[in-house]
């Protein structure tokens, strides 16, 4: 649990892990959360569990956007395209050609990463604004192509009858079962990214984010690194999309438009793009809040946008950043002070 919180502040990790009592407290919290997580499907209603499944899927896709934003300062609104590619690859290949799930996901990842590389390489040389708008343009292109190429995607009619994921005879065809499948996957990916941050590449990324000129002088090929992160982000989108297809068993083009891309960006910003736990918080927010506000109708889209604006202005570090600060302030003062 502490490991999720202490994304880029190893000092914090040290401080938290130093001292037996503190260590034990961390373990206790972690265990409590784990048990709480495991118990949810047993006590909550089906619709809540369904929401939480979506939260996990959005966490995965949102992690890509969040990482790109937090580590490279790149605003990407293109994640919906890769999400769609993953979903349609799975949908098409399972229903038309009967391919196994993993193979379809691999294809989805392959196509997404190839496109991300091909488009990313020239685009990522651009500066902030240009780049963001280029990704938005990409999202529009993707959405139109998903709609127009109905021989592949079924267009507005979509593709149905996607088989559920299964291991042997055991099918993951209920929200509860899928919940226990998808969250570990999400957490695994989160841990992988935490690894990344704390090893060589992560240092290079953080260097690039703080002072790109100095990073270049240390031998870091900034452009290549950005492309790598973009490709990684696309892979995450594709993974989330593939899982989505297996879960909802029917997909249509409405799920892969601009609003989806905005949702991913929103959850990245809200959750705090510089923390590893950010995407989880953001994803939980954007799935639970509309549910809570469902009495108000379509207004939640407006409220979301309002939240995005408020976060940008008042809470630039997002929920994750605030949580982080909260945890820091709760620790006894064995801390090096900053100016």
């Amino acid at each position: 649990m502490d490991r999720l919180l202490t994304s880029i502040r190893p000092r914090t990790a040290q401080a938290l892990q130093g001292g037996a009592t503190r260590g034990m407290r961390g373990v206790a919290i972690g265990l409590a959360l784990l048990i709480a997580w495991a118990l949810v499907p047993l006590v909550a209603s089906r619709s809540i569990v369904d929401l939480l499944v979506f939260a996990a899927l959005y966490t995965i896709a949102g992690l890509g956007v969040s990482f790109l934003l937090g580590q490279c300062g790149i605003v990407s609104i293109a994640q919906s395209v890769f999400y769609g590619i993953g979903a349609y690859s799975t949908a098409y290949l399972t229903t038309h050609w009967g391919w196994p799930a993993l193979a379809c996901m691999a294809v989805g990842i392959g196509i997404s990463t190839t496109i991300a590389f091909a488009v990313g390489w020239p685009i990522l040389r651009l500066s902030g604004y240009f780049l963001a708008l280029a990704t938005l343009a990409l999202a529009i292109i993707g959405h139109v192509l998903f709609t127009e190429w109905d021989w592949l995607t079924g267009g507005t009619l979509g593709i149905g009858g996607i088989p559920a994921l299964r291991i042997g005879e055991y099918q993951f065809n209920t929200p509860q079962r899928f919940y226990y499948l998808v969250w570990p996957i999400a957490l695994l990916l989160l841990f992988a990214h935490r690894n990344l941050l704390h090893l060589r590449t992560g240092f290079a990324m953080r260097a690039m984010r703080d002072a790109p000129a100095a990073a270049a002088v240390l031998g870091i090929d900034v452009h290549r690194l950005k492309v790598q992160v973009f490709v990684l982000s696309a892979a995450l989108g594709a993974i989330a999309g593939s899982l989505l297809a297996h879960y909802v068993t029917f997909i249509s083009v409405d799920s892969f438009g601009i609003d989806r891309a905005i949702n991913f960006l929103l959850l990245a910003v809200l959750g705090g793009a510089r923390t590893i736990i950010g995407p989880v918080l953001g994803a939980l927010f954007i799935t639970i809040v509309p549910h809570a506000l469902s009495g108000f109708g379509d207004i939640h889209a407006v409220l979301f946008a309002a939240f995005l604006i408020a976060t940008v202005i008042f809470l630039p570090a997002g929920f994750g950043g605030s949580l982080h600060r909260l945890v820091e302030s709760l620790k006894p003062s064995e801390r090096v002070d900053d100016k």
Partner: protein, 251 residues
């Protein structure tokens, strides 16, 4: 001594203004070379050209016997050509220790996929980098502040950090852009001693500075004025050279 860096016939202009006019300059291997000149002489431009941040309109830059025209900054760095910046470009949100680890990028290998998985090789590599960073902290006197965020350090220590980080990858030619700016006299003296020590360890230095005291450590100094090298030599000679006087006083 052979030439580590050779600048030949480099010219460059901005919007009709000719900033550099066929500049020739050499840095001998193992030396400390200074570059001075009044404001607007073109020192920054020349510096940016040498370090790869600018492509000259004409001329050639040769490093370690090969032409590096058009070579990107990171490749020059891989060959040992490293620079610092006038305002220290430390990684503000990283600690001193982490800044140094970042400096070890060139010296390490593992890629993104390996890092995602967290392979044993990746972890060993990081552990090695951490040990190196500890050593660098001691060498440069940063051990006390190793866990402070670099952004919160005073200018003098940021300068030190930037130097330490640049030296992490064992550079061959270290180009320093106004390294004494923002430092008090005491700190400048410490810097001079440090630079001489680094030079003694085999690092060649190219020093751009306003500070006459600092450049005194250089074995040869070039004077740049209005885009041309007007003379070169030892500091004492230059100080009594009428052309130099005119360049500085006449501006």
């Amino acid at each position: 001594m052979s030439a580590l860096l050779e600048v030949s016939g480099v010219s460059h202009g901005f919007r009709g203004l000719q900033v550099l006019k066929a500049v020739n300059l050499t840095v001998k291997t193992g030396s400390i070379t200074g570059l001075i000149g009044p404001n607007g002489a073109g020192k920054s431009t020349l510096f940016n050209i040498v370090s790869g941040f600018l492509t000259p309109d004409a001329g050639e830059v040769r490093y370690a016997g090969r032409s590096i025209n058009g070579m990107p900054v990171e490749q020059r760095s891989a060959l040992g050509l490293v620079r610092t910046f006038q305002t220290p470009q430390v990684f503000a949100h990283l600690t001193v220790h982490e800044n140094l680890i970042a400096g070890g990028y060139k010296a390490s290998r593992t890629g993104m996929l390996a890092n995602l998985v967290g392979t044993p090789a990746s972890r060993r590599e990081l552990a090695a980098l951490k040990r190196e960073a500890d050593r660098a902290c001691e060498r440069f006197g940063l051990s006390e502040v190793r866990h402070r965020l670099a952004g919160g350090l005073p200018a003098g220590q940021q300068r030190l950090l930037e130097l330490a980080r640049a030296c992490f990858g064992k550079p061959r030619l270290l180009c320093l852009d106004e390294p004494s700016s923002g430092l008090n006299t005491e700190e400048v003296n410490q810097l001079m001693a440090l630079l001489e020590r680094l030079n003694a360890e085999g690092i060649s230095l190219l020093l751009v500075s306003h500070d006459m005291n600092l450049v005194a450590i250089a074995s040869v100094i070039h004077v740049l004025c209005f885009g041309e090298i007007i003379c070169s030599g030892v500091l004492r000679e230059l100080q009594s050279d009428p052309r130099v006087r005119e360049a500085y006083l006449g501006v």
